[in-house]
Amino acid sequence: MYVAVKGGEAAIANAHSLLADRRRGDRSVPALRLDQIIEQLALGVDRVMSEGSLYDRELAALAIAQARGDMIEAIFLVRAYRTTLPRFGYSRPIDTANMLVERRVSATYKDLPGGQLLGPTFDYTHRLLDPELAAGADVAEPLLRETEAQAMPRVSAILAREGLIEPDGDMPQDHVPGDITREPLEFPMARDIRLQALSRGDEGFLLALGYSTQRGYARNHPFVGEIRIGEVELELDVPELPFSVPLGTVRVTECQMVNQFKGSAKAPPQFTRGYGLVFGQSERKAMAVALCDRALRAKELGEDVVAAAQDEEFVISHSDNVQATGFVEHLKLPHYVDFQAELDLVRRMRTEYDARQNPVKVEEKREAAE
């Protein structure tokens, strides 16, 4: 007989109103506004946009507030929201060489055209907590320096002149970029699909994998050829207009990792590359993506696959934190019937085990019972 059990409706409703109360916190403290989150927790907003795979600051800020600052919960909210919207199309590929650059550094060339621009970076700070910030001290306006606009070619273009670096990744002429939001993942996958998955992948997971390659698990001697952060223009081809329509600008972070490569049967000795492109200002993530992108090209470059970071199915299947949290967190939902069945099974196995270990005693017990 199958018995359906219902219950908990009131408990759930009350739990959610308690959640709303705790989210608001002490009422004597002013409530956070979304513009405060956007302006002052900007990198958190960027992370939610990047892993939520949706570029919209207000929605990301709302998600952070609603999730009480739980980033993966916020990312989950954004991912759920985007499924409610219709789709207008695919943009023209952005041109990162034509970026309004806010930060641009290279670890391979000191004097590159356009120069090294540190921008708003945590690098070279002393990582000392700032009591003045706690006291709400005023902040000075940034300094200005007048310069002529200078072209800022990508570092890869500079190295390419010598022919010692592989070109930008190409695909066959008739290749249509894959889209993991439309088609299920299939392995092995093309590099374009991997890059899409990595771009929305969990920063912590990809950081750990990138780190593992540096520590010797699939070592490939990376250099940061270039990191650039800034705004690029977005354009869309639409049937109603004879030109691509400009949509506005988005901020992205691009990392060009340059890796030593001693050559193989398939490729001559040269520098190979890993590439990372993510929403917002997020260079740790872009670097981790670039390290993983390069490690995952092992087969293409004729390298032995010996480490986790080179295992495409392992990396891509586990990089999505919404999927990961869904499967891990479902464990806390009621499994009463499953568990009851397991409990019966273990009881039966234990009786059989005891019978094998000590046949006489069990026999005696049975007789005593009778």
């Binding site: 990047s50 929605l59 789709r87 300094l143 590099r191 223009e233 400009p246």
Partner: protein
């Protein structure tokens, strides 16, 4: 004729880019100051949807999908017949509608100048100023390398 058409398209596209990059608040304020007419029939939207943003592998290689962005679009027809479009990042429906009307007015030779001077030019100059400021702020963080001279005596 061909050249004139191409120039017109480039100018129309530039005006659309300015509108897309400007905030809805700025557009509304200038619209009212310039006294532009907002009389138009909505043919589509304003409606919000997604555009999948594409990058290129290695910066210049094959295209790949990076992620999605919210975009709001609108299409309008003026009483004088011109049809205008807007597609702009974000979810500002009023902005999309006004920008579509601006695009339609821009196509009316009798109105183009009014739209350009009252709306597009001031928006563009505000954007240019903001860009120049950003560029100058970034330029102040440029590293000037110098070589330490080793003393001989």
């Amino acid at each position: 004729m061909r050249g004139q058409e191409a120039r017109d398209q480039a100018e129309r596209k530039a005006a659309m880019a300015t509108l897309a990059q400007s905030s809805g608040d700025d557009i509304v304020r200038l619209w009212n100051e310039a006294g532009l007419p907002s009389d138009a029939e909505l043919l589509r939207g304003p409606e919000t949807g997604l555009v999948t943003l594409r990058g290129r592998i290695g910066g210049g290689g094959a295209p790949f999908n990076v992620g999605e962005a919210t975009v709001t679009r609108a299409t309008v027809r003026l009483p004088t017949g011109q049809v205008g479009h807007c597609y702009a990042l974000g979810r500002d429906k009023q902005k999309a509608k006004l920008a579509a009307i601006a695009d339609a007015l821009w196509q009316d030779p009798a109105r183009r100048n009014e739209v350009e001077t009252g709306l597009i030019a001031p928006l563009q100059s505000a954007l240019t100023m903001a860009h120049e400021k950003r560029r100058a702020e970034t330029a102040a963080t440029k590293v000037d390398f110098f070589t330490m001279v080793r003393g001989e005596d």
